[in-house]
């Protein structure tokens, strides 16, 4: 599906917000993602997966960080150019039980899907939540709500976002998280200790994004493999064999 770029602008250090015209042909839930073709020729070969950072009648928003060749090329795309998107794909965060103490916890570029999630929680479900975002430094921050932690202390809480949110969690909490694997691992350990629930969006190398290549699997506690692109990217943290990550 070729869609027109409405805006592609830098919003933080190495971080861009890409707004694409929404053809209003489909719905999308928070936590779902698109497979984006970077060029209209065969290089780079594979599509890149990006979460939905916002989704409304007019635009699909993706917030991405320039980390390699594909995202570097993406950052050079201009308004009016077309991008080929496949999606929305994956399961998303699914239904949220309202009577829980909801915490959104994002790390770095992993905060992106939580922005759309927060909008849906507020506007569609009308539920309360608290949001905690962790970054390395102030320059990297691109969210304008919730509490912020920075590793270097340049903004908000000084240190790791997991440490910041930990005291708040209890058995009645539901954590909805996305971020670097190491952060999620630590968070999973905290949730396990606090006996709280967590749904977590995982990353994995993907070739197809639609469940056929079996490239994107993660190991689950029953020693099976699940496809991040179809059975995920959002998993109950209890399903995941965290040591393998």
């Amino acid at each position: 599906m070729k869609l027109e770029i409405f805006e592609n602008k830098r919003v933080a250090k190495d971080t861009f917000s890409l707004k694409i015209d929404n053809p209003a042909l489909f719905d999308a839930s928070p936590g779902q993602f698109f497979m984006v073709k970077i060029n209209d020729f065969d290089y780079p070969l594979l599509r890149r997966p990006f979460s939905i950072a916002d989704f409304n009648d007019r635009h699909i928003e993706i917030i991405y960080k320039v980390v390699g060749e594909g995202t570097k090329i993406l950052a050079s795309k201009q308004k009016g150019e077309f991008l080929d998107l496949l999606g929305p794909l994956g399961n998303g965060f699914g239904d949220i039980e309202k009577n829980r103490r909801i915490f959104l916890v994002g790390g770095g570029i992993g905060a992106a899907p939580l922005i759309y999630l927060s909008n849906v929680l507020e506007n569609m479900y009308g539920v309360n939540y608290k949001a905690y975002f962790g970054f390395n430094t102030k320059d990297e921050v691109y969210v304008d709500f919730g509490k912020t932690a920075t590793m270097d202390g340049s903004l908000g809480y000084a240190g790791n976002v997991v440490d910041m949110v930990e005291p708040e969690l209890d058995e009645n909490s539901l954590v909805l998280a996305c971020g670097p694997t190491l952060m999620l691992k630590r968070l999973a350990y905290v949730c396990y200790q606090k006996k709280c629930d967590m749904k977590v969006s995982l990353e994995s190398r993907m070739a197809c994004g639609i469940g056929v290549c079996l490239g994107c699997v993660v190991e689950t506690i029953d020693k099976d493999f699940k496809r991040v692109c179809v059975e995920g990217p959002v998993f109950d943290y209890r399903e995941i064999e965290w040591q393998t990550l």
């Binding site: 994995s204 197809c208 056929v212 290549c213 699997v217």
Partner: protein
């Protein structure tokens, strides 16, 4: 112009409505693609490699991108032959295209058992025997690298099936035509080539091979010149039809395979980037033939040898 071009291809008793199939391991069990394209448009599809028992596959990471290609080391994860027959095949009931079962094992017995189990499954039109797997009785060297192994494996499978047997060859050999000849001597009704080329990517950050399995199979447009060359070589040595596969990303590359000598082609990695690519390639082949006023796709098969 409609219907002016004859795209049908015969392989033994089978008639394919066009020469375009999908390659094993890149199209799941086919039903997954119903959302994205019209399965009936295809000549057929080769499903993910099937083993006697379900197979879990390799640990991740299993894939990594390379320049115009990718490595995969899925480790042949699959639901096993029984669940395939019970759960996956029924989803394709209504589809009007040939289903080819890709089978593999680690001993000749396993291949035979698979052939037996599929013998009375009418929905499966043919078997594609993946010989790029380690032969446990021979210390793990690939079946597909040794002409004698390929010969005896093919004859064993032939004895247990009435369906056409396609032997899928590995490119990681000195002389692919010798292996193809061995397959034909063993009774193969067709050969398909190429499977992936073994490669490795090292993650310089961790200083380790990127894939958990260390090596993986290189596929994608990067390898197409190797596939075309091997089809060309094999075409000069054998009589049975060749199925060309490897890096077919557009109809020009598809046509190159046909001209090199492939009667049918399989599209693999390209399905990942564009789930509708097979349909576009069929259209491209048709338009090419129309433009050149060629009546039947068979007329260009092997035409590059006339040069």
């Amino acid at each position: 112009m409609a219907n002016s071009v004859n795209l049908t291809v015969k392989l033994g008793s089978l008639i394919f409505k066009n020469p375009v199939l999908t390659a094993s391991g890149t199209f799941g069990y086919a039903a997954e693609y119903k959302k994205y394209m019209d399965l009936n448009a295809l000549g057929g599809f080769v499903v993910k490699g099937l083993s006697v028992k379900p197979k879990k596959g390799n640990k991740p990471p299993r894939i990594v991108e390379t320049p115009c290609g990718m490595l995969n080391a899925i480790g042949l994860q699959n639901v096993g032959i029984d669940r395939f027959i019970k759960e996956k095949l029924p989803l394709l009931e209504d589809v009007d295209a040939h289903i080819i079962a890709n089978i593999y094992g680690t001993k000749a017995d396993e291949f035979v058992e698979l052939a037996d189990k599929l013998e009375h499954i009418g929905r499966v039109s043919a078997l594609e025997v993946n010989v790029s797997c380690p032969n446990v009785s021979k210390g793990g060297a690939l079946f597909g690298k040794n002409p004698n192994d390929v010969f005896s494996l093919t004859s064993s499978v032939k004895k247990h099936t009435s369906k056409p047997v396609i032997v899928k060859l590995t490119p990681n050999v000195d002389d692919v035509a010798a292996i193809a000849t061995a397959a034909c001597d063993g009774g193969a009704d067709a050969v398909s080539l190429i499977n992936t080329i073994t490669g490795m990517v090292i993650d310089t950050k961790t200083k380790k091979p990127f894939l958990a399995n260390r090596t993986g199979g290189l596929s994608g447009p990067a390898i197409y010149p190797v596939g075309v060359r091997m089809v060309y070589e094999v075409y000069e040595k054998i009589k049975v039809p060749i199925i060309g596969v490897g890096g077919i990303y557009n109809s020009d590359i598809a046509l190159q395979y046909l001209m090199a000598g492939a009667a049918l082609i399989e599209i693999g990695t390209a399905n990942f980037t564009n789930p509708n690519i097979t349909v576009e390639i069929i259209k491209g082949i048709k338009e090419f033939l129309e433009g050149e006023n060629i009546k039947s796709v068979g007329d260009i098969v092997g035409i590059a040898h006339n040069a």
